[in-house]
Subunit: 468 residues, 2 copies
């Protein structure tokens, strides 16, 4: 799939999530048990007997889009701090204990959620539950730990974003795509905010968001649902809530009025790169299957070397060396559709962009051939089967959907709804697409610049998901 | 001054503030008494005996840039609520009492401050202090009042912004100029946030920010400083703080890396309008007089019909019917420099923009003639004399400077520092100007748009200062 190599890590993450957005439930023979404990914590159990292991994930309904003003990066920062000590677990021992039990653990933070997981022999499930329950309520943080971890985060930001012009560019593009909604902010945070995060901020965040009523535990593996529920009841059921779960107050985007453009030049860039993005509905917000239509459209229009844009620009007209499109519909509030391309040597950015604009206008007007749509649906469902053929993939799919305030049905009925997409449905979706209300980005090789503020190693991040 | 009629109300406000940014202290014979009460509230008294009146202003160090995430508009909303009742003043009676005493009152909110003022016969000074002290601590709000006022604010937003394409455009441009800092958000708030503001939010905001240690009282008028201080001690000195004054945690802008562009089409627009803006230092943040250099440069380059850009584009080359520039340096954290122009009939936006780009590059390289600089300094100081020749102008100048964390010296030494600006100082300032890291805006007449999201009456605001 080299043809869809995305121009930024953010796109990569989007594609990974896109692949994971499938659950051909019948084919996988998935048996989902859902339960809510008295304190409001939700439990999902899915038996998977292929190996004597279990994947245990605790998801919190809090992500970077829930951070207070001036404290971007706090959700991700706090994720790191959760690996410090508790009343009964010595500082930084959490992962070592899991390791000594033969397991692996990690965590990740996104716009809508923060998740912690362990992959371990099934017989240790109770033990890891006890540990997660412990750090949900009895985390102990010192100023020194908070300060030390800040340096780790800053280094993470430098490595992943500030030293990578593509990542920096993606961060700036996203900040321009969204006008008011917090999806515009990088998950890792703006450096200035990270510098100023304090123990006090961390503890306030912990008390407010790390409470059972705001959490979802997902267990996939070699377990009996009744036994797993009993363990969950035992370890999580006894926890008291530390805060009332508040509304996730996020500013809705104001009406779309403008076309925006972001141009960045960097001396580390050799070949111009084009991107154009639109804000779209998501699986959660879309009416009448529009998100599924976007998913299929993105695949057919730009999902690979057989896609319309690739065939047109790269194969037939040879004005681009790469071209594609993607859709990201897993967000709680908004999704994105994007088109990207790299001009062939000698082709000006203006010429390529004008051609893409014409192509988009034609597609919006005429729709796509039914054969392309059928092919796209087959590709997407096949990719979903592959992506979900693991404990981890399954647990992540259900956890991320529920933590972003979606429902298990969004997962269970995904394939059925995807298969219902046809030319008519896509035409309806295309008719509602505000084609000219986009953000366009060009990442270009360096040129003479009379200003002193060249692209330097200092900067700011943005990735969809920031793993520890 | 028709030649500098600015393209948006925001610019108008910026110009008004710009005019007010002068204090030829000696010429006005200003005698400033500064005092800090035991509770931390600051008092400024300036006698002005020309009429038997007094202007009394209470400034709070809280503005829209200090609002919590997802609650834009709260500072301004709360300003409205301060006209509701207290323990001893019946609901909505505040202004009527002032009126019955023959006075006038009002309030305004900006990015960095919220201010309340009365203009009244000097003998009533104690009475208005008692009333301001009362509502600083004993405001009583009901859900009904908060709900009623929400409709007033929404209507204000509709009238001033959503129904005005220039205001909408200015709002979007500002949101794109700033990447991370809260100056990007409209003072009146995004409509979605305003819709969701609650009594609970208002009361939390009140307790946190409306406390004597966060307030400054400015008294200008027919008063004896010792007597005015005694009154301030009596009415404000007794107040207890309701909260510790916290750091104003605002995200600093990440390094400048991109050029941005915002294009908006609207059927109510007949003539294209060009704007380009840069983030600059302010009087408070600039080193070594750079803000004064920006002020003089903006006046000489684009301050009127004798300015370089007007002479070049309008008079000589006739490719524009209007052209100018402005600088806004009164902000706590960042300022702005802007250039605007209107193409002459038959001149394409591209042609005008390219010409402006060349002119800017020449000016950055060569600086400005000394005669233009001398003229600009004379114009600015003369305008300042005029703008400050009133109780209101004086009180506002000192109050806004101190509430944005500047010092009285910033005001008192303004003229001296402005007069020190010369060709060399401007050249140094121009050398540090990242000319290509700007946001450019074009507001254009409507064109065919395949999307459904035309500019409608729904939208979002931005004004520099929102008066009640």
């Amino acid at each position: 799939m080299i043809h869809r190599t995305p121009p930024t890590p953010r796109l990569l993450a989007a594609l990974v999530l896109l692949l994971a957005m499938a659950l051909p439930a019948a084919a996988l023979n998935v048996d989902v048990t859902q339960h809510t404990l008295k304190n409001g914590m939700r439990v999902i159990v899915i038996p998977d007997r292929r190996a004597p292991t279990v994947t245990h994930m605790v998801w919190y309904r809090v992500g970077s889009a829930d951070e207070p003003a001036g404290k971007t990066g706090l959700a991700h920062y706090f994720e790191h701090l959760m690996f410090q000590g508790t009343k009964s677990i010595p500082p930084a021992e959490f992962s070592r204990i899991i390791e000594r039990l033969g397991g692996q653990d990690n965590a990740f933070t996104s716009f809508d959620y923060t998740a912690y997981y362990q992959r371990i022999a099934a017989r240790h499930l109770g033990r890891v539950m006890a540990m997660e329950a412990e750090r949900m309520q009895n985390l102990q943080l010192s100023q020194k730990e908070v300060d030390t971890e800040r340096e780790v985060i800053k280094e993470e930001r430098r490595l992943r974003t500030d030293n990578d012009p593509r990542a920096l560019f993606g961060e700036r593009l996203r900040a321009t795509l969204y006008l008011a909604h917090p999806y515009r902010r990088p998950v890792v945070g703006w450096m200035d905010d990270v510098e100023r995060l304090k123990l006090k901020d961390a503890m306030a965040f912990y008390r407010r968001h790390y409470t059972p009523a705001n959490a979802i535990v997902v267990i996939v593996g070699d377990v009996d649902p009744a036994a797993a529920l009993k363990l969950a009841e035992q370890h999580y059921g006894k926890l008291k809530n530390t805060a009332e779960v508040e509304e996730r107050a996020r500013t809705a985007e104001p009406p779309l009025l403008t076309a925006r453009r972001v141009v960045m030049r960097d001396e580390r860039i050799r070949t111009p790169a084009f991107q154009r993005m639109w804000v779209t509905p998501t699986y959660r917000t879309a009416k009448d299957g529009a998100a599924h239509a976007w998913e299929v459209f993105a695949e057919a229009f730009g999902g690979g070397s057989t896609s319309l844009i690739y065939r047109t620009l790269v194969v037939k007209e040879k004005i681009a060396t790469n071209a594609g499109a993607w859709y990201s519909g897993e967000g709680r509030d908004y999704g994105e559709f994007g088109v990207y391309a790299t001009p062939a040597p000698g082709v000006s950015p203006e010429k390529l962009e004008a051609r893409i604009e014409r192509l988009l206008a034609e597609v919006k007007r005429d729709g796509l051939p039914g054969t392309d749509i059928g092919h796209a649906i087959n590709v997407l469902t096949a990719e979903a089967v592959y992506a979900l053929d693991s404990q981890f993939g399954l647990a992540r799919m259900f956890g991320s959907t529920l933590a972003a305030d979606g429902s298990a049905d969004d997962v269970l009925k995904w394939e059925e709804r995807l298969r219902a997409v046809n030319t008519e449905r896509i035409k309806r979706m295309l008719a509602s697409w505000a084609l000219k209300k986009h953000v366009t980005g060009w990442l270009l090789p360096a040129a003479d610049d009379p200003g002193p503020a060249k692209a330097t190693r200092q900067g700011a991040t943005k990735e969809k998901e920031t793993a520890r």
